[in-house]
C-alpha cells in the first residue's frame, strides 16, 4: 500500500527524469509517460481509499491553503479590521470587510501560520478571547449595516493557555454562540481545514455550513479523544474513525449542507480550482438565503440548532 510520501517521492523521481530528458538529449519520454500514468493511478487509488486519520493529516497538511489564500482568491478588497477594543488584536482570527462577487460582506477567518516565525504570532490558528471578542464586534457591525457574514474555519481549537483562561476563553466562546444564534444577517460558514471543537463553533453557528472534502470538524482532536477515552496515544487513528469527523460523513449525518470535492491529494494540489468551487458555493448559498425575510431566516436557523442531537424517547412513561 503506497502512502503519501511514496507518491511524492515517485513524483520527484519523474521530475528528475524529465530534467535528464531535457539536458542529455536521451529520449526517456516513453518511460516518463509510463511512470506518470502509473503515478496517477496509484494516487487515484490512494486518495479514493483514504482512512479518516489520513484525511486528518490532509486537513493539517503544511501546504494546505489557509484562510488568507482563499481571501485573496475569492474576495476583492479585503479590508482588515483590528482589535477587540479591550486587550489587543488576535492574529489567529482575522476579521474585516470584503467584496464577494461585488457584494460587501463581513469576513471572519481563522489563520494558521506558514512558518515557525509566523506561528509565533498566529499561535497555529488558535484564537484567544480577544479573537473571539473581535469576531463578535465584527458580527455586531455586520448586523448594523446588513452585511452578510462569511466565516472561514481553520483551527485546532481555542488557545489553551493561562492568558486565554484568565481572559475567560470559555465565556467568550459562549457569548459568540449566543450572538450568532440571533444575528439578523445571513451567515455562511466554511470549514477549510480543521474545525476544532468550541474554538471552531464560536465562529461557526450559521444558516449554511459547507466543508471542503478533506477538512474535518470534531468535538475533540483524535489525539485528545485517544488520551481521554482510550488512555493510549497509539489509539489516535481509531479515535479519528470513531469520532466521525470527515466532511462526507458529517454530510451523511445531516449536520452540514455541502461537501466541496478536492483534487486527489488535497486542496493544495489545485488551489485555483478549489477556491473557485468554494467561491461559487458561498455565492450560491448567500443568494439562496439572502432573499428570505429576516424573520424566516432566523426561524430556520433556530430550528436547525434547536433540533440538533439524537436521542431515544422512552414510550413507557
Amino acid at each position: 500500500m503506497s502512502d503519501e510520501k511514496t507518491l511524492d517521492l515517485l513524483e520527484a523521481k519523474i521530475q528528475e527524469l524529465r530534467e535528464l530528458n531535457k539536458k542529455d538529449g536521451i529520449d526517456l519520454s516513453n518511460e516518463i509517460l509510463r511512470l506518470e500514468t502509473k503515478l496517477e493511478s496509484l494516487r487515484a487509488e490512494f486518495y479514493a481509499n483514504l482512512s479518516d486519520w489520513e484525511r486528518v493529516k490532509i486537513a493539517r497538511h503544511p501546504k494546505r491553503p489557509y484562510a488568507l489564500d482563499y481571501l485573496e482568491a475569492m474576495f476583492t478588497d479585503f479590508y482588515e479590521l483590528h482589535g477587540d477594543r479591550l486587550v489587543g488584536d488576535d492574529r489567529a482570527l482575522l476579521v474585516g470587510l470584503a467584496r464577494l462577487d461585488g457584494r460587501p460582506v463581513a469576513v471572519l477567518a481563522q489563520q494558521k501560520g506558514r512558518s515557525t516565525e509566523e506561528n509565533k504570532e498566529r499561535l497555529f490558528g488558535m484564537a484567544r478571547p480577544q479573537g473571539y471578542r473581535k469576531a463578535r464586534r465584527a458580527m455586531a457591525l455586520a448586523e448594523r449595516f446588513s452585511f452578510p457574514v462569511v466565516s472561514l474555519i481553520d483551527t485546532p481549537g481555542a488557545y489553551p493557555g493561562l492568558e486565554a483562561e484568565a481572559g475567560n476563553i470559555g465565556g467568550a466562546i459562549a457569548e459568540n454562540l449566543l450572538a450568532m444564534a440571533r444575528l439578523r444577517v445571513p451567515i455562511v460558514a466554511a470549514v477549510i481545514g480543521e474545525g476544532g471543537s468550541g474554538g471552531a463553533l464560536a465562529i461557526g453557528v450559521a444558516d449554511r455550513v459547507v466543508m471542503l472534502e478533506n477538512s474535518i470538524y470534531s468535538v475533540i482532536s483524535p489525539e485528545g479523544a485517544a488520551a481521554i477515552l482510550w488512555k493510549e496515544k497509539e489509539k489516535t487513528q481509531e479515535a479519528a474513525r470513531a469520532l466521525n469527523l470527515t466532511a462526507p460523513r458529517l454530510l451523511e449525518l445531516g449536520v452540514i449542507d455541502e461537501v466541496l470535492p478536492e483534487p486527489p491529494g488535497g486542496a493544495h494540489r489545485d488551489f485555483q480550482r478549489i477556491a473557485g468551487l468554494l467561491k461559487q458555493s458561498l455565492v450560491r448559498h448567500l443568494a439562496e438565503i439572502g432573499t428570505l425575510p429576516i424573520a424566516d431566516l432566523l426561524a430556520a436557523r433556530y430550528r436547525r440548532y434547536r433540533s440538533a442531537g439524537r436521542y431515544r424517547t422512552l414510550s413507557d412513561r
Binding site: E165, G170, L177, S197, S218, L243, N244, A308, Y311, R317
Partner: protein, 280 residues
C-alpha cells in the same frame, strides 16, 4: 472534557454499606466522622469543612423548599448516533452509569420552589459519565428553558460537568450552540437565568450555557475553566498558578458574579431570585 481529579471535593457514597459502618473517614483531615452528621451538613465534613460530592438529588434537596420537588424531565435517554466504541461500547457505558446512579441521564429537570418562588431547575450529576453534555442533556436544558418560558418563571442550572460527551462527536459539540440558541429565547422573554457552577464546570459546558447566566454564582471549591491543566501543560508547558481554574481564579478574573459557600447557596439563590420576581 477536563480530567477530573479529586482535589477539593472527595467522592463518598453515603448509602453504600450504610448498615455496616455508620462512620466514615474524611479523606481530607483523616478524622472519623458520623455519616449522618455529614449528610445533615450538606455533605460537608463537620470536622474540617471539606466538601464531599453531591449527587443531583442531594443537590436539589439542599437547595429547594421542602416538598416542592417535581421531576419534570423529558422521558429521553442517550442514543448512540455514531455507533461509538472506545474501550467499551458507548451504550454499555450509559447502561452502567444508569445502573450506578439510578438516573436515566446526567441531568434532572425539576419544577420546584426556592424561598417560595417557583422555578424550573436543571441539575447535573457528575457521576453520570462525568456529567458530560450529549444530545440528551442539551435537549433537557433546552426543554427546561422552554418550560420556564411556558410557566413564566426563572430558570436555574446547577452545572457539574467535565464538558461535552465525546462519544456523541459532532452532536455533542452542537449542544453548545443549541442551548445558547434557546437561552436567547429566555432572554427575549425577560425571564431570569441563574447559573450555578459547582465542581467541575469546564470545557463545553463552561464554554456555552453555564457562562450565559444573567447571574453566575460559583460554589466554593468549584473548578471553572475551558482547557484542563493537563491539556495546557502538555501543549504549552506553561507554569500554572496554584489557584488555576478555581472559584477564586474565576472570581478574580471576572467570569462570575459571586462565590458562595454550599450551606449558603439556598439563601443566596432565594435572595437573587427575589429581586427578579419583584421587578415583574
Amino acid at each position: 472534557m477536563a480530567i477530573f481529579k479529586d482535589r477539593n471535593y472527595l467522592r463518598v457514597n453515603l448509602d453504600k454499606d450504610a448498615d455496616e459502618s455508620l462512620w466514615m473517614r474524611c479523606k481530607a483531615c483523616g478524622e472519623l466522622v458520623f455519616k449522618r452528621r455529614v449528610r445533615e451538613n450538606s455533605n460537608i465534613c463537620p470536622h474540617c469543612g471539606e466538601y464531599f460530592f453531591l449527587t443531583a438529588r442531594e443537590r436539589i434537596e439542599s437547595l429547594i423548599d421542602e416538598g416542592t420537588f417535581k421531576d419534570i424531565s423529558k422521558p429521553i435517554v442517550d442514543a448512540d448516533p455514531l455507533g461509538f466504541q472506545d474501550t467499551k461500547p458507548y451504550l454499555e457505558r450509559v447502561a452502567e452509569a444508569q445502573e450506578a446512579t439510578g438516573l436515566p441521564s446526567a441531568i434532572i429537570i425539576a419544577s420546584a420552589a426556592v424561598a417560595g418562588i417557583p422555578i424550573v431547575l436543571g441539575v447535573m450529576d457528575f457521576r453520570f459519565i462525568g456529567g458530560s453534555m450529549g444530545s440528551v442533556m442539551g435537549e433537557q436544558i433546552s426543554y427546561a428553558m422552554e418550560e420556564a418560558i411556558g410557566r413564566r418563571c426563572p430558570f436555574v442550572l446547577i452545572s457539574s460537568s467535565g464538558g461535552a460527551r465525546i462519544q456523541e462527536g459532532i452532536f455533542s459539540l452542537l449542544q453548545m450552540a443549541k442551548t445558547a440558541a434557546v437561552r436567547a429565547c429566555l432572554a427575549e422573554e425577560r425571564l431570569p437565568f441563574i447559573s450555578i457552577m459547582t465542581y467541575p464546570t469546564t470545557a463545553g459546558v463552561q464554554a456555552s450555557i453555564a457562562s450565559l447566566g444573567d447571574v453566575i454564582i460559583a460554589e466554593k471549591g468549584a473548578m471553572i475553566g475551558f482547557a484542563g491543566p493537563r491539556v495546557i501543560q502538555s501543549t504549552i508547558s506553561e507554569q500554572l498558578p496554584a489557584n488555576y481554574q478555581t472559584d477564586s481564579f474565576a472570581y478574580q478574573h471576572g467570569f462570575i458574579d459571586r462565590v458562595a459557600n454550599r450551606e449558603d447557596l439556598r439563601q443566596e439563590l432565594g435572595k437573587i431570585l427575589g429581586f427578579f420576581v419583584e421587578a415583574r
